[in-house]
């Protein structure tokens, strides 16, 4: 069983790496990783310049109590805050494309009949697709992790401590989980929909709902703060209506949870880790997709006589 899953997963992995759409999104994603560090470096330079200029003026004015450089108090990983947003947007789209491509490939190629005349079960096929998708996304995230690790060390002018490295690793592990959820959604629609364009459009609509609509309902008062990696400072309304709406939609607000986990990990603020809800979402999505695909005969050939 495992060897068949491995064969399908490896085939999927190799095929995705040759796909143009995937290569384009991967390039954008990795560029964003570098860009995030550049923004961090730019921020550091600006703050240092402003600080040095201010210190000069304060010294010239005879001020003796010079405040310390605020950049020195920032956590080294905080310069990667923008990665939270990039993963929220580009990462999720990349996940959808990878998941969609995984199932649409066989349909486009028209190889289902040959494939299922071989001794493989539908379980092995679906698990192989999931494993291939996960493997591909893991590679993307691993490369992004290395870029972030190197760039953060360069920007902060010293090698990251072990705890920061572990925190960065955890951040990317959760990012992988988040992207994988969207891969499963893409995979599910590609398997279910008869139309290729609908198969791609439907998960994008779900992505918009999950990433933008539901969090707006959840936060109610801070919709514009959604894409801000730092939490909204506005206090949420406490009326019964808002409390009820939040209670209903919060379990579906994965992007908010991801943002919260990401921010916590990068800024060293361990006050909130909604890990459980993220894991629950991941399990429910993967399990749900697997169950529905098992029930639905995705592999049956056309009813030609």
């Amino acid at each position: 069983m495992f060897s068949t899953i491995k064969i399908i997963a490896t085939g999927e992995f190799r095929s995705l790496l040759r796909q143009k759409t995937f290569s384009l999104l991967l390039t954008v994603f990795l560029f964003m990783s570098v860009f995030s560090a550049y923004i961090g470096l730019s921020t550091k330079t600006t703050i240092n310049n402003v600080y040095n200029e201010t210190v000069k003026q304060m010294v010239a004015a005879g001020v003796k109590n010079i405040p310390t450089n605020p950049f020195l108090n920032a956590k080294p990983l905080a310069i990667l805050n923008n990665m939270v947003v990039y993963i929220l947007v580009i990462g999720a789209l990349l996940g959808i494309v990878v998941g969609y491509s995984a199932f649409i490939r066989e349909r486009k190629a028209g190889v289902f009949k040959i494939l299922f005349s071989k001794p493989i079960s539908k379980y092995e096929f679906i698990l192989g697709k999931m494993a291939g998708t996960l493997l591909t996304m893991a590679l993307v995230v691993a490369v992004s992790f290395v870029i972030s690790l190197v760039s953060t060390s360069v920007v902060s002018s010293h090698i990251l401590s072990l705890s920061d490295t572990v925190r960065l690793l955890l951040f990317y592990a959760f990012s992988l989980g988040y992207i994988f959820v969207f891969s499963m959604i893409g995979l599910f629609f590609a398997a279910y929909s008869r139309s290729e364009s609908l198969a791609l459009l439907a998960p994008v609509v779900v992505w918009i709902l999950i990433s933008f609509a539901i969090p707006q309902l959840n936060s109610a008062v801070g919709p514009t703060a959604l894409l801000n990696p730092t939490s909204s400072q506005a206090k949420l309304p406490q009326s019964q209506f808002f409390t009820t709406v939040r209670a209903i939609v919060h379990p579906f607000s994965i992007s908010e949870d991801f943002k919260s986990v990401g921010r916590s990990l990068l800024q060293g603020d361990i006050s909130s880790y909604p890990v459980l809800s993220l894991l629950m979402y991941l399990t429910a999505t993967t399990g749900g997709c697997f169950y529905i695909m098992k029930k639905y005969d995705v592999c049956a050939p056309e009813s030609d006589t």
């Binding site: 095929s15 040759r18 190889v111």
Partner: protein
């Protein structure tokens, strides 16, 4: 290859319905080891549905069937280990080379050393030198060869061919016919071939079955058929004679 009395394909009272349309109606059929069985019928007679059911791609509405003693419903994976299948209008992953496609399917068939086996099969088919070309560049005849290669890469006992000569030029048809006969004689494969080309049946098959509106209306060896309908000028006349009865 001489046939023996062991039914390698055993179909019993199989019915397949697509909503209100009955594609197969109480089909019972036996194909014996070593036969090259030509399954004749007009378009829409139910030939492809029969092959889809026998290759475990489609579940029958009722009835049972077994291949090499394995039930198609209960032991579908065992059935698949013993069959090769070339669908009509065979298609592959076009962004992969011929070798990569064959390697993928060979691995799925459980071949431990796929490269060696692929070389052997392509040698048997006299089709070497194209392995590392992408299949998007292949002609219909070349694709058909790769289709045969993927079907026989694990030396199956039964080979299912669905309209294998469809779209081939005369040379391609002759080559394919030679390959089918050699597979039967040299590799002892039982061949089940859907076709509506009577010329092919007369030159390739050892037994025929005729399907009409989902019902098997005739089944015998080619030799007996030609004896029985000795007054008919051609196999086409025989087919029309059977079809009209």
């Amino acid at each position: 290859m001489e046939k023996n009395n062991k039914a390698i394909i055993d179909v019993r009272s199989v019915t397949k319905k697509y909503n209100d349309v009955t594609a197969l109606d109480d089909l019972s059929l036996q194909v014996f080891q070593g036969e090259i069985f030509g399954f004749l019928g007009h378009n829409g007679a139910g030939k492809t549905t029969t092959v889809n059911i026998l290759t475990t791609l489609l579940a029958p509405t009722s009835g049972t069937a077994s291949i090499c003693g394995y039930d198609i419903a209960k032991d579908s994976l065992e059935v698949r280990k013993n069959i090769g299948y070339l669908p009509e209008n065979v298609r592959f992953y076009e962004n992969l080379t011929a070798f990569e496609n064959l390697e993928f399917f060979a691995k799925l068939s459980g071949i431990k050393k796929p490269a060696e086996k692929i070389k052997e099969v392509l040698g048997f088919l006299d089709f070497q030198g194209f392995e590392h070309k992408k299949l998007g560049e292949f002609s219909k005849g070349m694709l058909q060869r790769i289709g045969i290669a993927q079907a026989i890469v694990d030396d199956p006992q039964v080979l299912f061919l669905d309209e294998p000569t469809s779209g081939l030029d005369p040379m391609g048809i002759k080559n394919l016919r030679d390959v089918i006969i050699r597979l039967n004689q040299e590799k002892e494969m039982t061949v089940f071939m859907n076709t509506h080309l009577l010329m092919e049946v007369s030159k390739t098959c050892t037994a025929i079955g005729v399907l009409n509106h989902g019902r098997l209306i005739y089944r015998d060896s080619l030799e007996n058929t030609l004896k029985r309908f000795k007054d008919e000028v051609s196999l086409e006349d025989i087919y029309l004679n059977i079809g009209s009865t």
